[in-house]
Protein backbone atom coordinates (compact mmCIF):
# COMPACT_ATOMS: atom_id res chain seq x y z
CA UNK A 1 0.00 0.00 0.00
CA UNK A 2 1.06 3.52 -0.63
CA UNK A 3 2.23 5.75 2.19
CA UNK A 4 -0.59 7.85 3.52
CA UNK A 5 0.45 11.18 1.93
CA UNK A 6 0.78 9.56 -1.47
CA UNK A 7 -2.75 8.29 -1.07
CA UNK A 8 -3.82 11.89 -0.66
CA UNK A 9 -1.98 12.89 -3.83
CA UNK A 10 -3.87 10.15 -5.69
CA UNK A 11 -7.12 11.29 -4.07
CA UNK A 12 -6.43 14.90 -5.14
CA UNK A 13 -5.87 13.95 -8.79
CA UNK A 14 -8.70 11.42 -8.82
CA UNK A 15 -11.22 13.88 -7.46
CA UNK A 16 -10.15 16.56 -9.94
CA UNK A 17 -10.68 14.17 -12.84
CA UNK A 18 -14.02 12.91 -11.56
CA UNK A 19 -15.13 16.51 -11.01
CA UNK A 20 -14.11 18.09 -14.31
CA UNK A 21 -14.71 15.18 -16.68
CA UNK A 22 -17.89 13.73 -15.20
CA UNK A 23 -19.63 15.81 -12.56
CA UNK A 24 -19.22 19.17 -14.31
CA UNK A 25 -21.57 17.74 -16.92
CA UNK A 26 -24.21 16.70 -14.40
CA UNK A 27 -27.30 18.86 -14.51
CA UNK A 28 -30.01 18.33 -11.94
CA UNK A 29 -32.85 20.49 -10.70
CA UNK A 30 -32.40 23.53 -12.91
CA UNK A 31 -28.70 24.17 -13.01
CA UNK A 32 -27.35 22.96 -9.70
CA UNK A 33 -24.27 20.77 -9.84
CA UNK A 34 -22.35 18.59 -7.37
CA UNK A 35 -18.84 19.64 -6.32
CA UNK A 36 -17.41 16.36 -5.09
CA UNK A 37 -13.80 17.57 -5.05
CA UNK A 38 -14.37 19.12 -1.59
CA UNK A 39 -14.13 15.56 -0.24
CA UNK A 40 -10.36 16.06 -0.33
CA UNK A 41 -10.53 18.92 2.18
CA UNK A 42 -13.00 17.00 4.35
CA UNK A 43 -10.79 13.90 4.43
CA UNK A 44 -7.43 15.41 5.41
CA UNK A 45 -6.19 14.06 8.78
CA UNK A 46 -7.44 15.81 11.89
CA UNK A 47 -3.99 17.17 12.78
CA UNK A 48 -2.96 18.34 9.28
CA UNK A 49 -0.80 21.49 9.69
CA UNK A 50 -2.72 24.70 9.04
CA UNK A 51 -0.44 25.87 6.25
CA UNK A 52 -0.72 22.55 4.45
CA UNK A 53 -4.50 22.53 4.78
CA UNK A 54 -4.79 26.03 3.29
CA UNK A 55 -2.15 25.47 0.62
CA UNK A 56 -3.57 22.18 -0.64
CA UNK A 57 -7.07 23.67 -0.71
CA UNK A 58 -5.78 26.64 -2.67
CA UNK A 59 -4.06 24.35 -5.17
CA UNK A 60 -7.14 22.13 -5.47
CA UNK A 61 -9.43 25.09 -6.13
CA UNK A 62 -7.01 26.54 -8.68
CA UNK A 63 -6.80 23.27 -10.64
CA UNK A 64 -10.59 22.91 -10.70
CA UNK A 65 -10.87 26.55 -11.83
CA UNK A 66 -8.34 25.97 -14.59
CA UNK A 67 -10.60 23.25 -15.97
CA UNK A 68 -13.92 24.97 -15.47
CA UNK A 69 -13.40 28.53 -16.80
CA UNK A 70 -14.68 29.89 -13.54
CA UNK A 71 -12.06 32.59 -12.77
CA UNK A 72 -10.85 31.75 -9.25
CA UNK A 73 -14.17 31.23 -7.51
CA UNK A 74 -13.56 27.58 -6.65
CA UNK A 75 -10.22 28.64 -5.18
CA UNK A 76 -11.81 31.31 -3.00
CA UNK A 77 -14.60 28.99 -1.83
CA UNK A 78 -12.29 26.06 -1.08
CA UNK A 79 -9.81 28.22 0.88
CA UNK A 80 -12.70 29.62 2.90
CA UNK A 81 -13.99 26.13 3.61
CA UNK A 82 -10.52 25.00 4.68
CA UNK A 83 -10.28 27.99 7.01
CA UNK A 84 -13.53 26.95 8.73
CA UNK A 85 -12.53 23.29 9.01
CA UNK A 86 -10.42 23.26 12.24
CA UNK A 87 -13.15 25.07 14.16
CA UNK A 88 -15.77 22.64 12.83
CA UNK A 89 -13.64 19.63 13.80
CA UNK A 90 -13.21 21.04 17.33
CA UNK A 91 -16.94 21.66 17.48
CA UNK A 92 -18.07 18.23 16.29
CA UNK A 93 -15.44 16.13 18.07
CA UNK A 94 -15.46 18.00 21.37
CA UNK A 95 -16.28 14.93 23.43
CA UNK A 96 -14.16 12.45 21.53
CA UNK A 97 -10.69 11.29 22.46
CA UNK A 98 -8.56 11.80 19.37
CA UNK A 99 -4.86 11.23 18.88
CA UNK A 100 -4.59 13.59 15.97
CA UNK A 101 -3.58 11.57 12.94
CA UNK A 102 -7.08 10.14 12.41
CA UNK A 103 -8.78 10.70 9.09
CA UNK A 104 -12.42 11.82 9.35
CA UNK A 105 -14.51 8.74 8.57
CA UNK A 106 -17.58 6.83 9.66
CA UNK A 107 -15.61 4.76 12.16
CA UNK A 108 -13.88 7.71 13.84
CA UNK A 109 -16.62 10.39 13.86
CA UNK A 110 -19.70 8.17 13.74
CA UNK A 111 -22.21 8.57 10.92
CA UNK A 112 -24.19 11.36 12.56
CA UNK A 113 -21.26 13.68 13.26
CA UNK A 114 -19.53 12.86 9.98
CA UNK A 115 -22.61 13.79 7.97
CA UNK A 116 -23.22 16.93 10.02
CA UNK A 117 -19.56 17.98 9.71
CA UNK A 118 -19.66 17.43 5.94
CA UNK A 119 -22.99 19.20 5.56
CA UNK A 120 -21.88 22.38 7.35
CA UNK A 121 -18.58 22.68 5.48
CA UNK A 122 -20.14 21.88 2.09
CA UNK A 123 -22.83 24.47 2.75
CA UNK A 124 -20.21 27.13 3.63
CA UNK A 125 -18.27 26.21 0.48
CA UNK A 126 -21.36 26.42 -1.74
CA UNK A 127 -22.56 29.73 -0.28
CA UNK A 128 -19.26 31.40 -1.19
CA UNK A 129 -19.02 29.56 -4.52
CA UNK A 130 -22.45 30.42 -5.89
CA UNK A 131 -22.54 34.00 -4.66
CA UNK A 132 -19.09 34.63 -6.13
CA UNK A 133 -20.31 33.07 -9.37
CA UNK A 134 -23.22 35.46 -9.84
CA UNK A 135 -21.21 38.25 -8.14
CA UNK A 136 -24.31 40.06 -6.92
CA UNK A 137 -27.25 39.55 -4.60
CA UNK A 138 -29.80 40.46 -7.26
CA UNK A 139 -30.87 36.90 -8.02
CA UNK A 140 -30.95 36.03 -4.32
CA UNK A 141 -33.76 33.47 -4.19
CA UNK A 142 -32.59 31.73 -7.33
CA UNK A 143 -29.01 31.53 -6.07
CA UNK A 144 -30.17 30.29 -2.67
CA UNK A 145 -32.15 27.46 -4.24
CA UNK A 146 -29.10 26.51 -6.31
CA UNK A 147 -26.99 26.48 -3.15
CA UNK A 148 -29.43 24.23 -1.30
CA UNK A 149 -29.96 21.75 -4.14
CA UNK A 150 -26.24 21.59 -4.90
CA UNK A 151 -25.38 21.12 -1.22
CA UNK A 152 -27.71 18.12 -1.08
CA UNK A 153 -26.21 16.68 -4.27
CA UNK A 154 -22.63 17.22 -3.14
CA UNK A 155 -23.41 15.69 0.24
CA UNK A 156 -24.73 12.53 -1.39
CA UNK A 157 -21.57 12.18 -3.50
CA UNK A 158 -19.33 12.96 -0.53
CA UNK A 159 -21.02 10.34 1.65
CA UNK A 160 -20.62 7.79 -1.14
CA UNK A 161 -16.96 8.85 -1.37
CA UNK A 162 -16.44 8.43 2.37
CA UNK A 163 -18.05 4.98 2.24
CA UNK A 164 -15.96 3.84 -0.75
CA UNK A 165 -12.67 5.17 0.60
CA UNK A 166 -13.23 4.13 4.22
CA UNK A 167 -11.09 1.03 3.95
CA UNK A 168 -8.22 2.34 1.85
CA UNK A 169 -7.62 5.30 4.17
CA UNK A 170 -8.03 3.59 7.53
CA UNK A 171 -4.99 2.11 9.22
Amino acid sequence: MLRIHWRFVVLFLGLVFVQVLLLNNVLLGGYASPQVYVLFVLMLPVNVPGWLLLFSSFALGLVVDAFSDSLAIHTAATVFMAFCRPAMIRFFTGNMVLQGQEIPSFSIFGSFFLILYSLVLIFLHHISLFFLEVFNFGEFVQTLSRIIISTGLTLVFVIIGFALLDRSFSN
Binding site: A32, D65, A66, F67, L71, V79
Partner: protein
Amino acid sequence: MRDLFRFIQRYHFFFLFLLFETVAISLTASYQYYHQAFFIHSANIVSAKVYDTFDRVTSYLSLQKVNRQLLDDNTRLLNKQRKNFVITDTDVFIAHDSIYYRKFSYLHAQVINNSVNRRDNYITLNKGSIHGVAPDMGVIAGNGVMGIVRNVSSHYSVAMSLLHSDMLLSVRIHKNDHIGSLQWEGTNYREAHMTYIPPHVELAVGDTIVTSGYSVVFPENILIGTIKDWEIRRGETFYTATIDLALDLNKISYAYIVKNLMQEEQKDLELSVAPDM
Protein backbone atom coordinates in the same frame (compact mmCIF):
# COMPACT_ATOMS: atom_id res chain seq x y z
CA MET B 1 9.71 43.37 16.73
CA ARG B 2 9.89 39.99 18.44
CA ASP B 3 6.36 40.49 19.66
CA LEU B 4 5.24 41.15 16.14
CA PHE B 5 6.80 37.88 14.93
CA ARG B 6 5.24 36.02 17.82
CA PHE B 7 1.91 37.60 16.98
CA ILE B 8 2.14 36.55 13.34
CA GLN B 9 3.32 33.09 14.31
CA ARG B 10 0.50 32.66 16.76
CA TYR B 11 -2.16 33.65 14.22
CA HIS B 12 -0.36 32.36 11.14
CA PHE B 13 -3.37 30.26 10.16
CA PHE B 14 -5.54 33.34 9.93
CA PHE B 15 -2.93 35.39 8.06
CA LEU B 16 -2.30 32.60 5.60
CA PHE B 17 -6.04 32.34 5.03
CA LEU B 18 -6.20 36.09 4.35
CA LEU B 19 -3.29 35.84 1.93
CA PHE B 20 -4.76 32.94 -0.10
CA GLU B 21 -8.23 34.42 -0.10
CA THR B 22 -6.93 37.81 -1.27
CA VAL B 23 -5.08 36.15 -4.15
CA ALA B 24 -8.18 34.21 -5.17
CA ILE B 25 -10.56 37.17 -4.96
CA SER B 26 -8.20 39.47 -6.82
CA LEU B 27 -7.74 36.87 -9.57
CA THR B 28 -11.52 36.73 -9.85
CA ALA B 29 -12.09 40.47 -9.74
CA SER B 30 -9.28 41.54 -12.08
CA TYR B 31 -10.04 38.89 -14.65
CA GLN B 32 -12.21 41.06 -16.84
CA TYR B 33 -9.29 43.45 -17.45
CA TYR B 34 -6.45 41.00 -17.93
CA HIS B 35 -8.22 37.84 -18.97
CA GLN B 36 -5.75 37.00 -21.72
CA ALA B 37 -2.81 36.88 -19.34
CA PHE B 38 -3.91 34.24 -16.85
CA PHE B 39 -3.55 30.52 -17.22
CA ILE B 40 -6.74 29.71 -15.32
CA HIS B 41 -9.01 29.05 -18.25
CA SER B 42 -9.53 25.82 -20.10
CA ALA B 43 -7.54 26.94 -23.16
CA ASN B 44 -4.34 26.50 -21.16
CA ILE B 45 -2.09 23.74 -22.36
CA VAL B 46 -2.80 21.14 -19.68
CA SER B 47 -6.55 21.31 -19.31
CA ALA B 48 -7.11 21.76 -23.05
CA LYS B 49 -5.04 18.61 -23.65
CA VAL B 50 -7.02 16.64 -21.08
CA TYR B 51 -10.35 17.73 -22.54
CA ASP B 52 -9.12 17.03 -26.04
CA THR B 53 -8.11 13.48 -25.14
CA PHE B 54 -11.35 12.83 -23.29
CA ASP B 55 -13.33 14.22 -26.21
CA ARG B 56 -11.45 12.01 -28.66
CA VAL B 57 -12.65 9.00 -26.67
CA THR B 58 -16.22 10.09 -26.09
CA SER B 59 -16.82 11.57 -29.54
CA TYR B 60 -17.11 8.05 -30.96
CA LEU B 61 -20.30 7.64 -29.02
CA SER B 62 -22.02 10.49 -30.85
CA LEU B 63 -20.65 9.93 -34.36
CA GLN B 64 -23.95 8.84 -35.79
CA LYS B 65 -25.76 11.89 -34.46
CA VAL B 66 -23.00 14.22 -35.65
CA ASN B 67 -23.11 12.73 -39.14
CA ARG B 68 -26.81 13.34 -39.36
CA GLN B 69 -26.37 16.94 -38.23
CA LEU B 70 -23.63 17.47 -40.78
CA LEU B 71 -25.84 16.05 -43.51
CA ASP B 72 -28.64 18.39 -42.47
CA ASP B 73 -26.31 21.37 -42.53
CA ASN B 74 -24.80 20.43 -45.85
CA THR B 75 -28.17 19.96 -47.48
CA ARG B 76 -29.33 23.33 -46.23
CA LEU B 77 -26.19 25.04 -47.51
CA LEU B 78 -26.36 23.31 -50.87
CA ASN B 79 -29.93 24.44 -51.30
CA LYS B 80 -28.96 27.99 -50.52
CA GLN B 81 -25.96 28.18 -52.81
CA ARG B 82 -26.90 26.17 -55.87
CA LYS B 83 -24.58 28.20 -58.07
CA ASN B 84 -21.58 27.69 -55.88
CA PHE B 85 -19.72 24.75 -57.45
CA VAL B 86 -16.34 25.74 -56.18
CA ILE B 87 -14.69 22.79 -54.53
CA THR B 88 -11.93 23.56 -52.11
CA ASP B 89 -10.19 21.33 -49.62
CA THR B 90 -9.12 24.08 -47.30
CA ASP B 91 -11.19 25.30 -44.40
CA VAL B 92 -11.41 28.89 -45.56
CA PHE B 93 -12.22 29.98 -49.06
CA ILE B 94 -12.02 33.63 -49.96
CA ALA B 95 -13.27 34.88 -53.32
CA HIS B 96 -12.05 38.19 -54.67
CA ASP B 97 -14.63 40.06 -56.62
CA SER B 98 -15.03 43.75 -57.22
CA ILE B 99 -18.82 43.70 -56.77
CA TYR B 100 -19.06 41.35 -53.82
CA TYR B 101 -16.79 42.28 -50.97
CA ARG B 102 -16.53 39.42 -48.59
CA LYS B 103 -17.63 40.26 -45.05
CA PHE B 104 -17.75 36.92 -43.23
CA SER B 105 -15.56 33.88 -43.42
CA TYR B 106 -16.06 30.58 -41.59
CA LEU B 107 -13.89 27.99 -39.95
CA HIS B 108 -15.10 24.72 -38.46
CA ALA B 109 -14.13 23.52 -35.00
CA GLN B 110 -14.94 20.73 -32.64
CA VAL B 111 -16.47 21.36 -29.24
CA ILE B 112 -14.19 19.71 -26.67
CA ASN B 113 -15.77 21.04 -23.51
CA ASN B 114 -19.10 22.66 -22.76
CA SER B 115 -21.48 23.28 -19.89
CA VAL B 116 -25.08 24.41 -19.46
CA ASN B 117 -25.40 24.02 -15.70
CA ARG B 118 -23.78 27.21 -14.44
CA ARG B 119 -24.84 30.82 -14.45
CA ASP B 120 -21.93 31.65 -16.78
CA ASN B 121 -21.20 28.88 -19.24
CA TYR B 122 -18.26 28.47 -21.61
CA ILE B 123 -17.46 26.36 -24.66
CA THR B 124 -13.93 25.13 -25.40
CA LEU B 125 -13.08 24.64 -29.09
CA ASN B 126 -10.14 22.86 -30.71
CA LYS B 127 -9.11 25.76 -32.97
CA GLY B 128 -6.76 28.49 -31.78
CA SER B 129 -4.69 31.45 -32.89
CA ILE B 130 -2.66 29.45 -35.40
CA HIS B 131 -5.92 28.69 -37.21
CA GLY B 132 -6.76 32.38 -37.19
CA VAL B 133 -9.17 32.45 -34.25
CA ALA B 134 -9.19 35.69 -32.27
CA PRO B 135 -11.29 37.08 -29.41
CA ASP B 136 -14.69 38.55 -30.40
CA MET B 137 -15.33 36.13 -33.22
CA GLY B 138 -18.76 34.52 -33.30
CA VAL B 139 -19.44 30.82 -32.79
CA ILE B 140 -22.48 29.30 -34.49
CA ALA B 141 -23.95 25.90 -35.27
CA GLY B 142 -26.02 24.89 -38.26
CA ASN B 143 -29.19 25.93 -36.48
CA GLY B 144 -28.32 28.63 -34.00
CA VAL B 145 -25.93 30.91 -32.17
CA MET B 146 -23.56 29.31 -29.67
CA GLY B 147 -21.42 32.13 -28.29
CA ILE B 148 -18.53 34.55 -28.72
CA VAL B 149 -14.82 33.70 -28.51
CA ARG B 150 -13.17 35.14 -25.43
CA ASN B 151 -9.77 33.52 -24.87
CA VAL B 152 -7.41 32.05 -27.42
CA SER B 153 -4.30 29.94 -27.02
CA SER B 154 -2.27 28.62 -29.94
CA HIS B 155 -4.39 25.50 -30.55
CA TYR B 156 -7.56 26.10 -28.55
CA SER B 157 -10.09 28.77 -27.80
CA VAL B 158 -12.76 29.36 -25.18
CA ALA B 159 -16.05 30.97 -26.11
CA MET B 160 -18.53 32.55 -23.77
CA SER B 161 -21.72 30.58 -24.32
CA LEU B 162 -25.09 32.07 -25.21
CA LEU B 163 -25.89 30.88 -21.69
CA HIS B 164 -23.75 33.56 -20.01
CA SER B 165 -24.78 36.60 -18.00
CA ASP B 166 -22.60 38.95 -20.12
CA MET B 167 -24.15 37.77 -23.36
CA LEU B 168 -26.46 40.32 -24.91
CA LEU B 169 -27.47 39.55 -28.46
CA SER B 170 -29.19 41.89 -30.88
CA VAL B 171 -32.08 39.92 -32.43
CA ARG B 172 -34.97 40.51 -34.83
CA ILE B 173 -38.47 39.15 -35.24
CA HIS B 174 -38.31 37.71 -38.71
CA LYS B 175 -41.86 38.51 -39.87
CA ASN B 176 -41.98 42.21 -39.00
CA ASP B 177 -38.31 43.21 -38.56
CA HIS B 178 -38.69 44.54 -35.03
CA ILE B 179 -35.44 44.57 -33.08
CA GLY B 180 -34.90 43.52 -29.48
CA SER B 181 -32.15 42.08 -27.36
CA LEU B 182 -31.79 38.52 -26.21
CA GLN B 183 -30.47 37.45 -22.86
CA TRP B 184 -30.35 34.23 -20.87
CA GLU B 185 -31.79 34.66 -17.41
CA GLY B 186 -30.24 31.56 -15.96
CA THR B 187 -33.08 29.16 -15.31
CA ASN B 188 -33.74 26.86 -18.24
CA TYR B 189 -31.00 26.30 -20.78
CA ARG B 190 -33.54 25.75 -23.58
CA GLU B 191 -35.13 29.20 -23.11
CA ALA B 192 -33.91 32.79 -23.32
CA HIS B 193 -35.69 36.12 -23.09
CA MET B 194 -36.07 38.82 -25.71
CA THR B 195 -36.58 42.27 -24.19
CA TYR B 196 -37.48 45.77 -25.44
CA ILE B 197 -40.21 44.77 -27.87
CA PRO B 198 -42.56 47.78 -28.21
CA PRO B 199 -46.09 46.90 -27.01
CA HIS B 200 -47.73 47.78 -30.34
CA VAL B 201 -45.92 44.94 -32.09
CA GLU B 202 -48.15 41.99 -32.85
CA LEU B 203 -46.65 38.78 -31.59
CA ALA B 204 -47.73 35.21 -32.12
CA VAL B 205 -46.61 31.93 -30.67
CA GLY B 206 -44.09 30.36 -33.01
CA ASP B 207 -42.78 33.60 -34.55
CA THR B 208 -39.19 33.08 -35.68
CA ILE B 209 -36.39 35.08 -34.06
CA VAL B 210 -33.12 35.59 -35.95
CA THR B 211 -29.95 37.63 -35.42
CA SER B 212 -30.32 41.25 -36.45
CA GLY B 213 -26.98 41.81 -38.14
CA TYR B 214 -26.47 44.99 -36.11
CA SER B 215 -23.78 43.41 -34.00
CA VAL B 216 -20.22 43.32 -35.28
CA VAL B 217 -19.96 39.64 -34.43
CA PHE B 218 -22.71 37.67 -36.17
CA PRO B 219 -24.09 37.75 -39.70
CA GLU B 220 -27.76 38.53 -40.19
CA ASN B 221 -30.59 35.99 -40.19
CA ILE B 222 -29.04 33.23 -38.11
CA LEU B 223 -31.84 31.30 -36.47
CA ILE B 224 -32.23 31.80 -32.72
CA GLY B 225 -35.58 30.22 -31.92
CA THR B 226 -39.30 30.78 -31.73
CA ILE B 227 -41.55 32.82 -29.46
CA LYS B 228 -43.21 30.74 -26.76
CA ASP B 229 -44.85 33.35 -24.57
CA TRP B 230 -44.73 37.10 -23.79
CA GLU B 231 -45.68 39.53 -21.06
CA ILE B 232 -45.20 43.10 -19.88
CA ARG B 233 -43.17 42.80 -16.69
CA ARG B 234 -43.98 44.85 -13.66
CA GLY B 235 -42.47 48.34 -13.89
CA GLU B 236 -41.71 48.02 -17.60
CA THR B 237 -43.40 49.37 -20.69
CA PHE B 238 -42.00 46.88 -23.20
CA TYR B 239 -42.84 43.27 -23.92
CA THR B 240 -40.49 40.57 -22.73
CA ALA B 241 -40.88 37.41 -24.79
CA THR B 242 -39.78 33.91 -23.81
CA ILE B 243 -37.90 32.29 -26.67
CA ASP B 244 -37.54 28.55 -27.22
CA LEU B 245 -33.95 28.22 -28.42
CA ALA B 246 -33.65 26.26 -31.65
CA LEU B 247 -30.20 24.99 -30.73
CA ASP B 248 -29.92 22.54 -27.83
CA LEU B 249 -26.69 23.80 -26.27
CA ASN B 250 -26.37 20.60 -24.27
CA LYS B 251 -25.96 18.53 -27.43
CA ILE B 252 -23.41 20.44 -29.46
CA SER B 253 -20.35 18.65 -30.75
CA TYR B 254 -19.06 20.84 -33.58
CA ALA B 255 -19.19 24.54 -34.37
CA TYR B 256 -18.44 27.14 -37.01
CA ILE B 257 -16.33 30.12 -36.01
CA VAL B 258 -17.36 33.27 -37.86
CA LYS B 259 -14.84 35.94 -38.66
CA ASN B 260 -16.19 39.37 -39.54
CA LEU B 261 -13.56 40.85 -41.86
CA MET B 262 -14.95 44.34 -41.37
CA GLN B 263 -15.29 44.15 -37.61
CA GLU B 264 -12.41 46.54 -36.85
CA GLU B 265 -13.58 49.04 -39.42
CA GLN B 266 -17.15 49.12 -38.08
CA LYS B 267 -16.01 49.28 -34.46
CA ASP B 268 -13.55 52.10 -35.12
CA LEU B 269 -16.10 54.09 -37.04
CA GLU B 270 -18.75 53.67 -34.35
CA LEU B 271 -16.26 54.55 -31.62
CA SER B 272 -15.24 57.74 -33.42
CA VAL B 273 -18.86 58.92 -33.35
CA ALA B 274 -19.82 57.79 -29.88
CA PRO B 275 -16.79 56.82 -27.78
CA ASP B 276 -18.91 55.36 -24.96
CA MET B 277 -21.07 53.19 -27.14
